[in-house]
């Protein structure tokens, strides 16, 4: 189960400001039923100050807690002050949220933003420039920041997570990060087919053959087609009933680690 702070527990058990406001000056929404969470926030605004706020939330414990605390945070504040609130502020006010639940604070922030945009008559459909677009909402990481991480050498999702936390929260943005990885990581690392084969051969000769040799076995590179690497086991390996395990757990792992993550090792008898 999640490790929720006492503050989160307090707010989902006894949420503050539940309900709707008749004649609200602004109503904001975020999320959708199909995604498993939806939030509606109602604001009463008087002379640029939020005088009342209420919410209705369909979502988990942290979604309700985020909504509840958000209403407490904004009542009595000026619109100017409220516009400066970020999703991280909401999470901090709750004494933190589990990383996988950061999107709950994002949703609170989105609903608030939506309400304010409607209040000021701003176009909610307005799109930011591509490179300013936020990809990971949980940690507020933009497309430009992710591309920079890739150009600085990030090759996998874990590398990106390490560089700027992107994808480390609710994980909904991971498909988009993968697209960026495909688009930008490959260009830098693309090598010619000949280099690819040479690299494979080198790993087989240095890392693999030596290990198999300890059991009087050996390995020969037969062919490379795309990412499929065809090999032949020789010596004692050729008759070993656990050869598949050796190929997958050791040979393929070595090649994936040192040459290309998508390599598939296939045995030729």
């Amino acid at each position: 189960m999640w490790e929720y702070s006492d503050k989160v527990k307090e707010h989902y058990k006894n949420p503050k400001n539940v309900g709707s406001i008749e004649n609200a000056d602004a109503i904001g929404e975020a999320g959708a039923l199909a995604c498993g969470d939806k939030l509606k926030i109602y604001l009463k605004i008087d002379n640029g100050v939020i005088t009342d706020a209420k919410f209705q939330t369909f979502g988990c414990g942290s979604a309700v807690a985020s909504s509840s605390i958000l209403t407490e945070m904004i009542i009595g504040k000026t619109l100017e002050e409220v516009r400066k609130i970020t999703n991280k502020d909401i999470a901090n006010e709750l004494d933190g949220l589990p990383p996988e639940k950061m999107h709950c604070s994002v949703m609170g922030h989105e609903a608030l933003e939506d309400a304010l945009k409607k209040y000021f008559g701003e176009d909610t459909q307005e799109e930011k420039k591509d490179n300013e677009k936020i990809v990971c909402n949980c940690f507020g990481v933009s497309e430009a920041e992710i591309i920079k991480a890739i150009k600085d050498g990030a090759k996998t999702l874990d590398d990106i997570k390490e560089a700027n936390y992107a994808g480390g929260g609710c994980s909904r943005c991971i498909p988009n990060i993968k697209i960026l990885l495909d688009k930008y990581a490959k260009k830098d690392t693309a090598i010619s087919p000949v280099q690819f084969i040479l690299k494979i051969n080198k790993v087989l000769e240095t890392n693999v053959a030596h290990e198999l040799g300890k059991d009087s076995g050996g390995i020969e590179l037969v062919n490379v087609e795309g990412k499929d690497v065809y090999v032949k086991l020789t010596g004692t390996c050729s008759s070993c009933k656990n050869a598949t395990l050796t190929l997958k757990n050791f040979v393929e792992k070595q090649l994936r680690e040192h040459v290309d993550e998508q390599i598939n090792v296939i045995e030729v008898k």
């Binding site: 539940v18 039923l33 199909a34 979502g59 996988e100 009933k241 598949t244 598939n264």
Partner: protein
């Protein structure tokens, strides 16, 4: 506040008799069953006896057909990878969309490694499309894999009939059945079926966590997942976990003795809970609608209210239940089982599984039926779907 434990499909309490039976094998009888001296004899005998009890429990022909493992996942991995390894020229597998993640994710992984997997659907009640399953069989089909009872809905799939039909079409195709949620809840008699491999897990029937078993029908070839010593007739290396094996055998014996209770008293408590919820709470809809069901499980969706929030409030009242399987209640994805069944989004995210055991009392059920309506009423007030909820509750 007393504890009401209604999450027995996730894990169960260790039966007091089970713990008692295990203790001597921690204290005096600590010998390695493979050793030669007298001290080891007791341990060796205990493993032998346990194997006979588990064989009996599953209706195996011969105790030699039972391999002890560390858990249900290991049983499944041993069965599946073991069969594929000795049949490397065949690359087609048939399974269902509603398997437990330990099996489902293994097939997804195998799919990436060049296997072709046919995923069989269920209908809106949760029953399996057996016609499509049989149609999918080809000469290249190495394995058909169907669970006996679903962990989330309790639906029973007719694995005995399926195994017969599979063998009629292709006698070489092996049949693996994940029996984890069936063992101890319904009668199992493997010798009367054509099932080749059948996995169970001790902690689902009041043995401790960390022990399981795999039935491998005589004549079925598998290569071991864990390679090393000669234990378990070369099919699973590693010194036998004697106290846990004894514990699981004791639990199996108790489960067999209590099977009648499970099928009658537990079932009537489950039905009381189910009817109590469905008739008192208007936005409750039944997800466990399969034709046949294990006696201890019900799965109910609450429209327009999110499941985790319900679980947290139940927890505050001392009631343990679960949404989806325990493996997924830490994740944000809605249940793959309910999605396969086509449960609408209105109740998909608000689905709760209650699973009973022979230790469940009438008071537990009455208490839950009493507490739940107030929780749902409170949470309905928080929901943004007031119009829809008012319509349901009017």
């Amino acid at each position: 506040m007393s504890l009401v434990y209604l999450d027995n499909n996730a894990t169960t309490m260790v039966a007091p008799e089970v713990l008692e039976a295990m203790l001597p094998y921690f204290k005096g009888e600590y010998g390695n069953p493979s050793s030669i001296y007298d001290l080891a004899h007791g341990a060796n005998l205990a493993v032998k006896k346990s194997r006979e009890i588990i064989a009996d429990f599953l209706g195996a022909k011969d105790p030699k057909e039972i391999i002890f493992t560390s858990c249900g996942s290991e049983s499944a991995n041993t069965a599946i990878k073991g069969v594929l390894d000795v049949n490397r020229n065949k690359k087609h597998i048939i399974t269902t969309r509603v398997e437990h993640p330990c099996v489902l994710n293994l097939y997804k992984d195998l799919e990436k490694r060049g296997y072709q997997v046919s995923w069989i659907d269920v209908d809106s009640k949760g029953d399996l499309d057996i016609g499509s399953l049989l149609e999918a069989i080809t000469p290249d089909t190495v394995l058909v894999s169907v669970m006996m009872a679903n962990n989330e809905t309790g639906t029973i799939y007719p694995v005995d009939k399926i195994s017969e039909a599979v063998k009629m079409q292709n006698p070489d195709t092996k049949v693996f059945v994940d029996g984890v949620q069936a063992a101890g809840k319904i009668p199992i008699n493997l010798k009367e079926t054509k099932i080749d491999l059948f996995g169970i897990s001790g902690h689902k029937f009041h043995a401790p966590k960390g022990v399981g078993a795999l039935y491998v029908k005589s004549g079925t070839m598998i290569s071991p997942l864990i390679v090393g010593g000669h234990q378990e007739r070369g099919k699973r290396a590693g010194t036998e976990n004697v106290p846990y094996i004894v514990g699981m055998a004791t639990a199996a014996k108790l489960a067999a003795e209590n099977l009648k209770d499970e099928l009658t008293r537990v079932k009537s408590l489950r039905d009381k809970l189910e009817n109590g919820i469905l008739s008192n709470i208007k936005n409750a809809v039944l997800n466990s609608r399969g034709s046949v069901r294990v006696p201890n499980t019900t799965n109910i969706g609450f429209q327009y209210i999110e499941g985790e929030l319900i679980l947290l409030h139940l927890n505050d009242e001392g009631i343990c239940a679960s949404s989806g399987s325990a493996c997924t209640s830490g994740s944000l994805e809605p249940s793959h089982v309910l999605r396969a069944q086509g449960v609408p989004f209105t109740s998909l995210h608000g689905s709760i599984r209650f699973s009973l055991s022979r230790y469940t009392t009438e008071e537990d059920i009455d208490y839950t039926i009493e507490k739940l309506p107030a929780i749902i009423k409170k949470l309905a007030k928080i929901s943004p779907f007031q119009k829809e909820l008012n319509e349901i509750f009017k």
